[in-house]
């Protein structure tokens, strides 16, 4: 198991003297699937930005694929929250997905292989028939799925999904979870979610973020103790909102 993401004693704050994340030590291994949970404003999205080198740690070290985040981020498929993007930008679904094929050395035009990869990604997400629609004409859930397709078009080794279920259309939820299970077999998938039903799914680890970051191995619970403990744990995280604030602060489940 090679580590994909390593954070060593990382502090980060947007404003000097005010830390958003403190004393973060975290390792995510290749093939591991994880769910990043925590209260709003706890630093979940900031953690993703640190992984990708979009923000620099105030202290400590971040490594992505064993090197700098800037060098490693081309191997990452990143899906931001769709509402951060311009609602009315003139672009079609297919054009959005094609931007996932962008590289620093793209020779001005996308190749046939790029187009096929974008098409495959749309197929995977079940949106091929919307390929020529304007992005602005889609519903929130559809836009979110297009952004997942764009992340898949990168053919990533690590997939980072920021709140993928926040706006998913009710009918598409099960299908979407199925897709995620498929993807977890192929690549390392980290999902940010405040939707705690997510934790129930087949993930290897749960990463609690609330200024401090604590990783719980989902497997440890089921292996060591009986199902009851596992369920108890999940139940706690699911129903008691104070729980992960708690576990985030006290390193305790």
């Amino acid at each position: 198991m090679t580590p994909i993401i390593e954070l060593e004693n990382v502090d980060f704050g947007y404003v000097p003297g005010e830390l958003t994340l403190e004393q973060v030590n975290l390792t995510v291994n290749s093939g591991e699937s994880g769910c990043i949970v925590g209260p709003n404003g706890g630093g979940k999205s900031t953690l993703l930005k640190l992984f990708l080198g979009l923000v620099q740690p105030t202290r400590g070290k971040v490594r992505l694929f064993g090197g700098s985040p800037e060098a490693g981020r081309r191997r990452v498929g990143y899906m931001p929250q769709y509402h951060l993007l311009d609602r009315v930008f003139p672009i079609t679904v297919f054009e959005v997905v094609l931007t996932g094929r962008m590289t620093s050395w793209l020779p001005f035009w996308y190749s046939g292989a790029d187009r096929r990869a974008a098409h495959r990604a749309l197929e995977e997400i079940g949106m091929v028939r919307l390929a020529d629609r304007p992005f602005s004409s889609l519903s929130g859930g559809q836009r979110q799925r297009v952004l997942i397709a764009r992340a898949l078009a990168c053919e990533p080794e690590l997939l980072l999904l920021d709140e993928p279920t926040a706006n998913i259309d009710p009918g598409a939820e099960e299908q979407f979870y199925g897709l995620l299970d498929e993807l977890r077999k192929r690549m390392t998938v980290l999902t940010v979610s405040h939707d705690l039903g997510f934790v129930n799914r087949e993930v290897d680890s749960v990463i609690c973020v609330n200024r401090r970051v604590v990783k719980h191995r989902a497997a440890d619970f089921s292996a060591e103790t009986a199902d009851a403990v596992y369920h108890h744990h999940v139940g706690l995280i699911q129903h008691d909102h104070s729980c992960f604030c708690h576990c985030g602060d006290k390193h305790h489940v």
Partner: protein, 280 residues
């Protein structure tokens, strides 16, 4: 029936034909840059840059006539003022330390005020109204050549970097992750915007620059589904607006700058209403 056509072909109307030619030649740069200004929502940045251009004009005329620096032409001053303003606001908005709209307001007002102060202290006659409201009817051959140069400066990079531009404009964070130099592209866009603004100063004047940058692209945005088709449509629209506005101003004896902009504004409103109806 063709009397008006014959009238237009009269030799003494060379200035009007020149002005129309300039409008058509300026259309590619206008349409492309205008589309970027509208889709990236930097129209107030463009406004600040336009007003700072006047500051540059004032400074250049002062240096030319008081300090006798002959190379300081008003055009050079305008380019300097517009560029500095656009890049200052752009860099501030990238670093996100200050409120962007406040900085825009400061640059806007300061540029204009400095320009008027310098012009006040500059001896001799200065047609400052020409800068504010445009003097397209006094277009010279040099300006036509400069316009063609600007078109080349805008269109050549566009052909080669269209996909990057599209990716950066839609989602600059994601594009950056894919290895696109988002900051470099943004600053290039700002520089081209400043140059286009200076060119437009001659067509409709500083006050109405924002209208000509935004209206054609905004109308095109109602109908186009791609970035490139928005650009193409706003190129055509800006050429049509300048030519039709000039005809209107000639036949109705109206000032040319306002005539062009009012025409464009009327079409915008019409398009807005049509779209509402179609949706309803």
């Amino acid at each position: 029936m063709f009397e008006w056509w014959n009238e237009l072909c009269a030799p003494e109307l060379g200035f009007l034909r020149y002005a129309m030619l300039l409008g058509v030649l300026a259309a590619p740069a206008l349409g492309v840059v205008g589309t970027m200004v509208v889709t990236r929502r930097i129209s107030s940045l463009a406004g600040a840059s336009a007003h700072a251009a006047l500051g540059g004009v004032g400074l250049a005329l002062y240096l030319q006539r008081v300090c006798l620096w002959k190379f300081c032409t008003p055009e050079l001053g305008a380019v300097f003022g517009a560029l500095v303003a656009a890049l200052v606001v752009g860099i501030v908005s990238l670093s996100a330390r200050e409120r962007e709209d406040t900085v825009i307001g400061v640059v806007w007002a300061l540029g204009m005020a400095l320009g008027l102060l310098f012009l006040d202290r500059t001896p001799g006659y200065v047609d400052w109204q020409g800068y504010l409201f445009g003097n397209i009817l006094l277009v010279s051959r040099t300006e036509l050549y400069l316009t063609i140069a600007l078109d080349a400066a805008v269109l050549l990079p566009l052909v080669f970097f269209y996909n990057r531009l599209l990716a950066v404009s839609f989602d600059s964070t994601f594009a950056q992750l894919r290895g696109v130099r988002a900051t470099a592209i943004y600053l290039t866009l700002l520089a081209l915007t400043a140059l286009t603004i200076v060119l437009l100063m001659n067509v409709v004047g500083i006050i109405l620059v924002i209208a000509m940058l935004t209206l054609p692209a905004a109308i095109a945005g109602f109908f186009a589904r791609h970035l490139w088709s928005t650009m193409l449509m706003s190129c055509v629209l800006s050429a049509v607006f300048v030519v039709a506005g000039l005809l209107l101003s000639y036949f109705c004896q109206l000032p040319s700058g306002p005539a062009i902009v009012v025409l464009a504004g009327a079409v915008y409103l019409l398009a807005l209403i049509l779209r509402r109806k179609r949706r309803a």
